[in-house]
Symmetry: C2
């Protein structure tokens, strides 16, 4: 498969540019788990020097999207279901804590944004624009965090979420139900509006547990992407 190489947007550093390109291609499985990449190879591919490539590698290795073996090589990580589970655990813990805040206080403006987001989500689904749908999904949750003044918390989730994202992509390729996802988003909005903390917590739990069920299914379907 071919690499997707967007042009660097203005204002970003070379280092960030390399990071973005690599992340996109890893999460999108354009480079496959187990593949070996090298600083030289990427620096040539993107026409930049090794330094920013190296910095991007380090950053990605912290997200466990790749692992660096000193003096040996750098490899794309396999999806580790134990890690995915822990990422889910972290995300569930933090999302629940935030939904508890959101069901106590939430501005009308932000609620409106969430609703607009959902209509956009439906649109993308009809057009079968899955990756754009996933972006909106992320945006949805991000909005809740920001409204609760927990932007840093969201960035932590982002960091842990990389592994998780790859599974979601597979899940969409495998064509598993996304209509349920939208229904859950709607339920979250209702919970916030009615200040129904109980319902909010329950929905978030289901929302994230859904993927838990799919995990084994996906591992059977794409064993070459998984650890062991």
């Amino acid at each position: 498969m071919e690499w997707i190489i967007d042009q660097p947007s203005n204002g970003t550093s070379v280092s960030d540019y390399v990071y973005e390109v690599l992340k996109k291609n890893i999460v999108g499985f354009n480079v496959k788990p187990g593949d070996r990449i090298s600083e030289n190879e990427i620096s040539e591919l993107l026409q930049v020097s090794r330094t920013p490539v190296r910095e991007a590698f380090i950053k990605l290795s912290k997200e466990d999207l790749l692992y660096i073996l000193p003096q040996r090589g750098t490899y794309i990580s396999y999806i580790d279901l134990d890690e995915v589970e822990e990422a889910r655990f972290i995300r569930e813990s933090l999302e629940k804590a935030v939904i508890e805040l959101a069901t106590k206080e939430f501005s009308e403006d932000a609620l409106f944004m969430l609703e607009q987001n959902i209509t956009a989500q439906k649109n993308k689904i009809e057009k079968k624009a899955y990756s754009e749908f996933l972006e909106l999904d992320e945006e949805f949750h991000k909005t809740i965090f920001q409204e609760c003044n927990k932007g840093k918390t969201w960035s932590i989730i982002q960091q842990v979420n990389s592994q998780y994202k790859r599974i979601r992509i597979l899940s969409f390729i495998a064509n598993i139900n996304w209509l349920q996802t939208i229904a859950q988003h709607q339920a979250i909005i209702e919970a916030i509006r009615n200040k129904d903390t109980e319902k909010g917590l329950k929905t978030i739990g289901e929302h994230l547990k859904k993927l838990n069920i799919e995990k084994m299914e996906l591992k059977n379907k794409y064993p070459e992407y998984f650890k062991q």
Copy 2:
């Protein structure tokens, strides 16, 4: 005040070495918030090249212990109480989620480790060895996470916790009560042993909220370390 420069321990990379030295000196207030440091200055001080220094800077900036202004300079961050509060929020959410697991299943061996840790804690307090006490404190919580198979979760806390750590150091310099801390640790052990989830959650809440009370007190005492 003088910089504390330990020798590099064998096996660690130069980059990690620089990171450790810088972190220790920032958290310990040997370099003060607002101070300017540069790649050149540090590379000369530690007798290494600029590359590993730069990598350490990037890592520390992700923990918000310093901030990099491109082409302008790198500065030690002031303590931002909003950020500290969010770090506390994250930690509380994750610690509660883990204590819930711990009060359901926990090995006898690990419980023993926790008890041994507490006796060691008392020791350090008597000797007024505060920084060593803080290390044991961290170890205590880490043990719980690891026993619950949530090592990654702990590492997330570590990352977010740097800001928080600086406050704890100030708190100890200002001589605020640590006996209460030990009592709370003991209460956590009891909760785990008796599988008393309710008590566990409550204690964790108090444990972390304690610092919340001290924050304003500390800001008044050391205004030069805080933002605004």
